[in-house]
Each structure stands twice: as structure tokens, then as C-alpha cells.
């Protein structure tokens, strides 16, 4: 169920050197230059990843359904707040139940990151559509990922419609979840019923994304 893809780290060799391409829509002429940054209201930057078996996946594979991108790090207390409480797995299950794709991403240069992530997800009963290790940080930089968690929603047409926090109460205390507004649930409900997302950008909170290098 839990397909896992590695962006670059698993085989740090020549084969995967060009495995990740992050391209901004309409910026093909810049080719190898810096990709365009993710901006809410504009097409989400495309990305292509290769799994450990060499099979390519891309954001475009999910076209026609909304996609949630979730930056995570199992060692971060803010992530643990939302996993130990069951809040994030429940948010995932709710989204998948509405035919939304969910991509969990960890930016990490650690060679063991993928196996650590997937075994931890198993413990927490987390079953995203797929999980990805952003080994060189390029995906994180393109999306402007700053915190774990940091959440993004791409709508069925490929437009970025949400960027920000999981919910409205910035804290590391699970007791605060009950009184918080879950921005991902709210934005998915809105986008799935054809409404504009009322809170399209919020300030994310959490640990720093661990960029390699």
C-alpha cells in the first residue's frame, strides 16, 4: 500500500544524478537555471522522482485529483505532536477517502531516511499514497518548505491552492489540537466543493527543514 520513492539518496551514484527534475511551469527556457518558486494561486512546480526500482513518478501522475504535499521529520516534536495524537494519520485517511493523493516528503541527506520514515509511518498507522526522500533539498527549496510539518495542496487542475501550517494553533502540545482549525481539512473541503480556499496561505510552524550541506 505504502509505495515509497526515493528522490536521490538511496543510490547516491551516477544513475540517479539526474533523477530529480524540478521545473517551473512556463520557465523551460531557463532550463538548468533555478526553478521557479511555488506560489499559491499559480501552477504548482512540477517534479519528477525516481523510486528505488527505477520507476519514474511525477506530480503530473496525480493530475485530476488534488494532491497534498506534507513535509515531515519523525524526530521533530511538532511532527510527533500530530502523529502521536493521531491527528496527521486521521487527516491523511480523511483525504484519501475523498480520492485525494497524499505525498509525504522528508528533506534529508541521511542514507537511512527512507527506511526510518516508512517504519515510523507503520508504527503511527500512517498510510500516505507515497513517501519521498528529498535527498538534495531541491524539492524543498522549490516549494519553500521551511518547517516540519509544512503543508501544501495542489488542486485537481495542478494549481497550488494552499501553503502553510497543519492547523491554527502553533505549539508542540497535543492538547492544543482540539481547539485548532485544521487548515488542510478546511482547504480540501473547500477545493473539493469548488470553493476558493478561504485561508490559502498561513504561517507554518515547526522544526526547521533539515537541508543537507
Amino acid at each position: 500500500m505504502n509505495k515509497s520513492f526515493v528522490l536521490t539518496a538511496a543510490i547516491r551514484g551516477a544513475a540517479l544524478l539526474a533523477a530529480v527534475t524540478v521545473a517551473g511551469c512556463g520557465s523551460e527556457e531557463v532550463s538548468a537555471a533555478l526553478p521557479s518558486k511555488a506560489v499559491v494561486g499559480e501552477p504548482a512546480p512540477a517534479f519528477t522522482a525516481t523510486d528505488a526500482n527505477g520507476k519514474a513518478i511525477s506530480l503530473a501522475d496525480f493530475k485530476g485529483k488534488p494532491v497534498v504535499l506534507e513535509w515531515t521529520n519523525p524526530g521533530c516534536p511538532f511532527v510527533r505532536k500530530h502523529y502521536d495524537s493521531g491527528n496527521m494519520p486521521a487527516t491523511q485517511a480523511k483525504a484519501l477517502g475523498k480520492d485525494v493523493a497524499w505525498v509525504t516528503i522528508q528533506t534529508s541527506g541521511d542514507a537511512d531516511a527512507l527506511s526510518d520514515l516508512t517504519s515510523w509511518q507503520g508504527d503511527k498507522k500512517s498510510a500516505p499514497t507515497t513517501s519521498v526522500i528529498d535527498a538534495d533539498g531541491s524539492l524543498g527549496r522549490t516549494y519553500g518548505a521551511r518547517t516540519t510539518p509544512h503543508m501544501y495542496i495542489v488542486d485537481a487542475a495542478g494549481k497550488l491552492v494552499y501553503a502553510g501550517a497543519i492547523d491554527s494553533v502553533p505549539s508542540a502540545d497535543a492538547d492544543d489540537i482540539e481547539g485548532a482549525t485544521n487548515y488542510v481539512n478546511q482547504a480540501l473541503d473547500e477545493t473539493l466543493t469548488g470553493k476558493p480556499v478561504s485561508k490559502a496561505v498561513t504561517e507554518p510552524y515547526g522544526c526547521s527543514v533539515k537541508y543537507p550541506g
Binding site: G144, R146, T202, S208, K210
Partner: protein
């Protein structure tokens, strides 16, 4: 309790860790100028009072959460920057006694790869003004606070503590207290940003907020300054701020975050020379935000 502190000895840096751990383990309730401390592997935290001030009806006193970080660890400012979390305090006070907001000292920058944070390493005191009502009649002012703070180095730990102070009220007790806490408040006074007053007009131009001003201190002239926006969700903190001097006039171009969540009319920014403990606060009035 005061005597005991004297025996242990000030200044604070010389107090032994063994004693501090004992304090926590035994749950000893300190009275006077410092609460019992909470000591973790990364932080020593306590609530202290400014010994210069007496507890009288209709008056006010200043207390403060003192955080002493282990080397390499830091906690966060009111705007933590790209990640992190500001320290918070939830007060338990007698009826009519009111706690104000945290008076945040000037922070420092902490760079983490492509990300930038604002906070405090070493020791920091976060002062809060407590206002006592005119009809306050108790002999003792009991102050309780639950503080939460995030300390980060390579990793982050969410820490919290409950602190209590019992302060004799209605009489002059300042002379009985100890000098070290006074020093902490005096040192912090020197770390508050100085409000330059007035409003600096700023305009959104493309992906930048551009403004010029001539009110900055003489010592800043010609230098590259650090900028600390007091509100998050506006500025791309980790991007360099393009800045230029022309005689006394300083022009800065703040990079707007590609994922901006706020469009404030007014934005307070602390500006300082790198390495200086204190800065200056300026208030921008920003025109030209595009929707939303």
C-alpha cells in the same frame, strides 16, 4: 530562602548545577526574588522579580522568565523567523492583577542551511509588567506562570515549566532582596530595541517593500544592517535585504515572501548592527499590497 541563596552564592553563573538539580528534584518552593528553577539538559529556567520594585496596591512590578541555554542551543523571539516557536507564558494571578505582554529584548540571527531564525542563545530575560489593582489588600502577591519554550540546536526540544513567586506586599522589601536579579533586569534594559518614533512610509514594488529613512543612529551610517520584522508571514527572512546609504539616508529593499500570508498596513522592524546587543525599532506604513 534568601539566606540559602546567599550561601550558595551569586553571581548566578557560579551557582552549582548540583544545587539546581536538587531544587527541582526536591520541589523546593523558592520565595523572594527567584522561583524554583526548571533545569533540563538544554536550559535552566526560572521566574525572577525586579528587586527595585515594591509590591503596593495601585502599583506595578516587573517579573521575568530567565532562560539560560546550554552552549549551541537557542530559543525564539516573538517572530521566530523561518521556523521555530516564540516562548509563551500563561499566568495565574489574583483577581484584578494583570500581566502585560513580554517585553522582548533584541534578538540575534541563527542560520540553518537556507533558513534564518530569530532568537536568543546564552542567557535571556523575558520581562513582563504586572499591574496591581488599587484595592489589592493581601499580604502576599502570589504569581504563577506556565511557560513554554522551544530550544533548538541541530534538533528541537519543546520544553515547559511552571513557576511561582510569593512576594510580600504592602511594605518596602526591596532592600532585603539580592542584587543579582537587579543586574539581570538592568542588563536586559540595555538589550531592548530603542523606538525611533514616527512612521516610515514604504511601498510594495514588485517583490520588494522599499523604504528610505534618515533617522537611524549615527553609528549605523554606511554599514550593512540586520533586519528583524516583528511579524512573520510577510518578509522572506532568509533572502538578503538589499540596502544602500546616501549620506544620512538609508534605503532598504525587503524581499517579500513568495508565500506571504499577511498584508499589514504597519510593520515594526528591529534594525541593528551585526553583533550589537541592541537595535532600533522602526515602524513602516506599507502601501501597495496586491490582493489578497
Amino acid at each position: 530562602m534568601l539566606e540559602r541563596f546567599r550561601i550558595i552564592g551569586f553571581p548566578m553563573q557560579s551557582r552549582s548545577l548540583a544545587f539546581l538539580l536538587m531544587t527541582v528534584a526536591s520541589g523546593v518552593q523558592a520565595s523572594g526574588t527567584e522561583s524554583a528553577a526548571v533545569v533540563t539538559e538544554h536550559t535552566r529556567a526560572s521566574l525572577i522579580t525586579d528587586a527595585q520594585q515594591d509590591v503596593v496596591a495601585g502599583g506595578e512590578i516587573t517579573v521575568g522568565l530567565q532562560l539560560e541555554h546550554q552552549p549551541g542551543w537557542h530559543s525564539y523571539w516573538k517572530n521566530p523567523g523561518d521556523s521555530g516557536l516564540p516562548t509563551t507564558m500563561r499566568w495565574t494571578l489574583p483577581t484584578g492583577v494583570v500581566a502585560g505582554p513580554i517585553a522582548w529584548p533584541t534578538p540575534a540571527q541563527f542560520r540553518d542551511g537556507p533558513l534564518l531564525n530569530f532568537g536568543y542563545g546564552g542567557a535571556v530575560l523575558l520581562p513582563v509588567r504586572i499591574t496591581i489593582p488599587a484595592d489589592f489588600k493581601a499580604d502576599v502577591l502570589e504569581i504563577g506562570v506556565r511557560a513554554r519554550w522551544l530550544v533548538c540546536a541541530e534538533i528541537c526540544i519543546a520544553e515547559a515549566g511552571e513557576f511561582a513567586l510569593r512576594l510580600p506586599a504592602g511594605k518596602a522589601v526591596a532592600q532585603e532582596r539580592l542584587p543579582a536579579t537587579n543586574d539581570a533586569f538592568a542588563r536586559t534594559q540595555a538589550r531592548f530595541p530603542i523606538d525611533l518614533g514616527g512612521i516610515v512610509p514604504a511601498r510594495v514594488t514588485g517583490t520588494q517593500v522599499v523604504f528610505s529613512m534618515a533617522q537611524l543612529p549615527e553609528a549605523y551610517r554606511g554599514k550593512d544592517l540586520e533586519l528583524y520584522p516583528e511579524t512573520g508571514g510577510v518578509v522572506d527572512h532568509s533572502e538578503p535585504v538589499l540596502q544602500a546609504w546616501a549620506e544620512r539616508s538609508w534605503t532598504a529593499r525587503l524581499p517579500v515572501s513568495p508565500q506571504r500570508s499577511e498584508s499589514p498596513e504597519f510593520l515594526d522592524i528591529v534594525v541593528k548592527l551585526p553583533g550589537e546587543p541592541s537595535g532600533s525599532r522602526i515602524r513602516l506604513q506599507i502601501e501597495g499590497w496586491s490582493s489578497p
